[in-house]
Every structure is written in C-alpha cells, then in structure tokens.
Amino acid sequence: MLLEVDGFCKRFGRIPALSGVGFHVETGELLGLIGPNGAGKTTLFECLAGVLPSDSGVIRSGGAVLDARARRNLLFYVPDGIAPWPHQAVGWVLDYVIGFLGGRAELRDELIAQLDLAALLGQTVGTLSKGQRKRVLLAIGLLTAQPVLLIDEPFEGLDLRQAREIAAALRVHAARGRTLFLSIHQIGDAARLCDRFVLLSGGRVCGEGTVPQLAATAKMPEGDLEEVFLALT
C-alpha cells in the first residue's frame, strides 16, 4: 500500500462536504474516484493536495502521518477548469513546470507527442479551447515528479477519440509505476480505464475496490460499474 487516507472531513459553513472519508491507494494503480456532481470529489482532491484546508483527516505512508511538506513531495494535484498562466505560451509553460515545479525534463517531448501538443506550443494558454487546455493540464500533471498524481476530471472537454488517446497515455504512465488517482463523473470512462474505484456520494465513501469487489458488496455479482454505483450510492 502506497498511502492511506483516513478520516477526512470538511464543512462549508453548515454544509458537510466530506464526512470521514477514508481509503487506500496502491503503488502504480489507476484509481478512480467516482461520484455524482456535488459528491465532494474536487473538495477531497483539494484537501488531499493541501490547497484547501480540511477540518480533520490524515494521510499515512509507511505507517507514518505525512506533514504538509511530505504530502507535497508525494502528491501533485491537477485541478479541472483552470487556465493557469493564460498569457504564456504552452511551450514556455511546460518549461516552467519543469523548472519551477521540479518536473521531469526527459518526459517533455514524449508528452508533447502523446497529448498532441506540438501545434499548440506557441499558443498562449488563454487562447486554447477547453479540450486543448485539458490536454495541457494533463501534460503539466504528467511532467511533475511526484509519485502520485491526482487529476480532476481528466476527460472533461475531450471528444471520444481524444479521450481514448488520453486514456492510453495515462495507462502508459501508470505502467511505469506512476500512481494515478482520477476523479471521473462519467462512470463509463472510469470503468474503461481504472483498476480500482473509490465511490463517493454526499461526501461519504460508499465503496472501495475493483468492480467484482464492489459488485459483491452491492450483492450484484453480475452487475457492471454503473449498476453497482447506483446500488451503493
């Protein structure tokens, strides 16, 4: 086990967004965080990454509780729907991620090819379409050096072909040992890509495991992920 998430709670005023969220993450796995809109997926990722304060909760690795610095060394979070450094060219942004965020320079050209960014390198981030921006965000995340990458909605804004290409690229990186934790609200996409799943609904974990494990929990041995999800949430 690479890390264990335990007891994450977060309230926005009187509204509970996360209630005692806990699960574990294995090395090199593709873990899907699935749940309906408003389930608390983004809040959970932001709390884990330390860009939003949680009310409680710890992350353990090797039995030790990780402090903020250790968390930053272990996890990197790619938010959804942002347009970072909008006036800078994509090529420069990738260099900046390598230089400032300590990214891996040796992956730069490979990612440009995998994510079809060559034509966008001279374009500023602010002028990109939603799908193009998503591919740049994925490149930013995949360039970073942290062992665990949290990506919020990796397929948002992508067409079917692009989504499949991105999924293939993510599998390549996971196969090399990078742990990918993906928040996906399209259960079909998640089912095609991920090894295991954390089901989140109303800020609570409703299930964790592979599709067969979740199906067993839901007492639906023949059920697919969608049916299991509906049954458990």
Binding site: G50, Y96, F100
Partner: protein, 444 residues
Amino acid sequence: MPSRSVASPFRWLLEKEWRELLVSRSWWILLIVMGPLAGISFIGAVRAYAEVSGLNGTSAGVGEALAPLAGVWAPTFSACELVAVFLLPFVAIRMVAGDRQSGALKLELQQNLSPAVRMAAKALVLLGGWVLAMLPPLSALLLWKFYGGTLYPPELATLIVGHILNAGLTIGLAAAMSSFTEHPSTAAILTLTVTVGTWILDIFGAVEGGLWERAAGYIPAALVSQFEHGLWRLDTTLIAVVLIAAGLLLAAIWMRLGIPVRRRAWESAALGVLAAAAIFACAFVTPSWDNSEARANSFPEADERALRHIHAPLQIDVHLAPQDGRRTELERQALSKLRRAMPQVKVRYISSTSIGLFEQTAAGYGEIWYHLGGRRAMSRVTTPEGVLESIYSLANVTPPAESGDEIFRGHPLAAPPKGAGTLFYGVWPGVFLAGAILVRRRFK
C-alpha cells in the same frame, strides 16, 4: 551560469513574474501615462524657474535663491506620486490576484517554496517595473543638464529613493489586499480606501494635533514630502520598510489557501502586533540627513555647532492651535530643524481648540515658552532666527556670526524647456506604446 532548465525555482519564478508584468496592460498604460505626466510637471517647472531666473526680462532676484530640487525636481517627480497612488495598485493587484484568478496559484502552491519568497519575487519584479516607469522623469535630468542646469546627486538620490519607497508601500498594500480578498476589484477598492484613509489621517492630524499629527507624519504623502525636501530620516525609512514587509508578509499568509482561515487570521493579528511594535520602536530613531544642497532642513552650520554645545535639557511649550498658521510656520521652519540639531529637545503644543480663532484673546495664547536648565523665557516669534535667539539668550551662548559663505545662492537658469514636449509627449509614449505592441505580438 546554469542553463534555464536547471536554474533554481526562484529564478524561474522571477522569470514568470517578469513575463506576467510584460503582458500586463495596466503596466503598459502606467508607462505610457508617465511620460506626459512627468512632462507637464517638468515643462511647467522649468518655465517658472526660467521666469524667476530672469527669462524674458523678468526679475532675476528671486531666482538667486531658487534650488533645482524645490523648483524643478520635486514637481517633476510628483508624477511618480500620482501614478503610485492611482495606477500602480492596479498593476500590483493584477500580479498578485492573477494567479488566484487563473488557477495557477493552486499549482504553484504545491511547490515547496515559501509563500514569503514567492511574494518577494513579485515585489522585486514590481519594483523593477517601477524603476522602468521612472525613466521619463529621470530623462528630465539629462534634459536639464543639456539646458546648462546643475545637478546635486545627493538630493536627487534622496528624492528617487523616496519615490521607490513610496512605490514599495503601494505594492505592499496592494499585495496584502489582493491576497486577502477573493476578487481583484475588491482588492482595488480596499487599497484605495486605505490610501484615502491616510489622507483623512493627514487632515485629522492637522486638525487635532498630538498623536494624530505624529502618526500623520508617517503616511506615504508625508514620506514623499520629506524626501522631496532632500531630507532622509531614518525613522521614516525604517517605518516604510516595516510597512512594506508587513504588507508582503500579510499577502504571503493569505496566499496559503491550504491553511485554515482562523489560523491565517491569528497569524495576521500576530504580524500586526509585531509590525506595530516595530513601528513604535522605529519612531524613536532620530538620525536624519539633510541631503539638500540648499540645507533646506537645517539651521546654518555655525548655529548647529552652537546648539550642540548646549547640553541642558530644553523644553518648549507652544501655546498655538493645530490649525494656526504660526504653528505651522514654527514647526516647519524652526522646530523640525531644531529637532535635528538637538534630538533631546521636547516640544509640547498646548491649545484648547483646533483652529485657535476663539483662543486669540485668551491669556497666554500665542506664547512660546522655553525652559532650559531651570531658566525660562517667553517669546512670540515663530521665525527660525527668533527661536534661535531665544535659545541662545536662555543658554547664555553668543550667537555665531553670520557667514556669507554658508548662504545658498541658488542656481538660476533662464532656459526655456526646449525639446521637452517632444520627449515627454512624443518619444516616451511612443517608445512605450511600441514596446507594448511588440511584446503583446510576441506573446500572441
């Protein structure tokens, strides 16, 4: 020299902030506006200076006492003060709030670099941008030299440092407000509110006197005014540095989105207490340097030497209201100079009203009492000569003889502002406009 890819994160951060400044419309507007603003002031000042120096048959007598610092440089660089108040905050707010607005902050926060260091990078780049913005008024120095004018580097350096410190205060304030608030427009409103608040403090100090008046002496406008007179006060400088650092640290505290708001609020309160304590301590620092060529902030050297020989504690009780013109003259022309020569002097202002109009008939109003070594004397004279005479008389010190060599004769210059219009209204805006277009085209 390391290559770009292996340069330190801080260097990458500096490069990023610099690039962000380059694409900032508000910064380019600030640059374009600075030329004409400095030009209006410079051309007007040079014309007035030339007229009092005898141009076109006007009387040359006044020009003999005219110093370029007061006559030309203070008005020319006043463009910087105007721009620092009304335009620079928007540049700083964009630089700080832009990261939050675009979402870049969430990515950058995951780097282990301290938020204070990140804020320092922004401040350094903004100050660099400000120095570039000062190029138009600085170019006036060359023009002045070309006209045959004289330059006195110590007073010019003091003036420039004053405007850089003033810009630093604006940057610190705007950075704090940008980090503290969710939206740039709120930050802009709060920044301008604080600026207007300092003006209100200035008015309040003038009306109420006392501690308010003392506090008003440290607002940015008062700071600039001191430097404009060629006076470099260590207390004012240190207080400005403390305020700038406090603003940037406050911004750094609120930049940490992952820290609970309550903890950030406590840290801010602790920072406020520390800054207040530091400011209080700095207020007792007395060294100051009169860098003006005309010694506008000092008594003649012979008088200062004579005053240094008076060791008994001197207390002056001034029975004048805060808004009484005599009190203003006494403070500006005599007591501020006396404090520099005799740091241990105690001055008490005594009045029961703020305007003094209805106190005029009261017994004792208008009196200035000097207490020195158990002896006391009263005078109503508010001129520097009158104040010195009272002190010498009380201390049994023979007034030093006036030395003709010490008197500043001024540098009259009866030259029209030739070519200034072309430079300030044409060349500078043109250069900056072209720069803006080229940079934006390159980034697109």
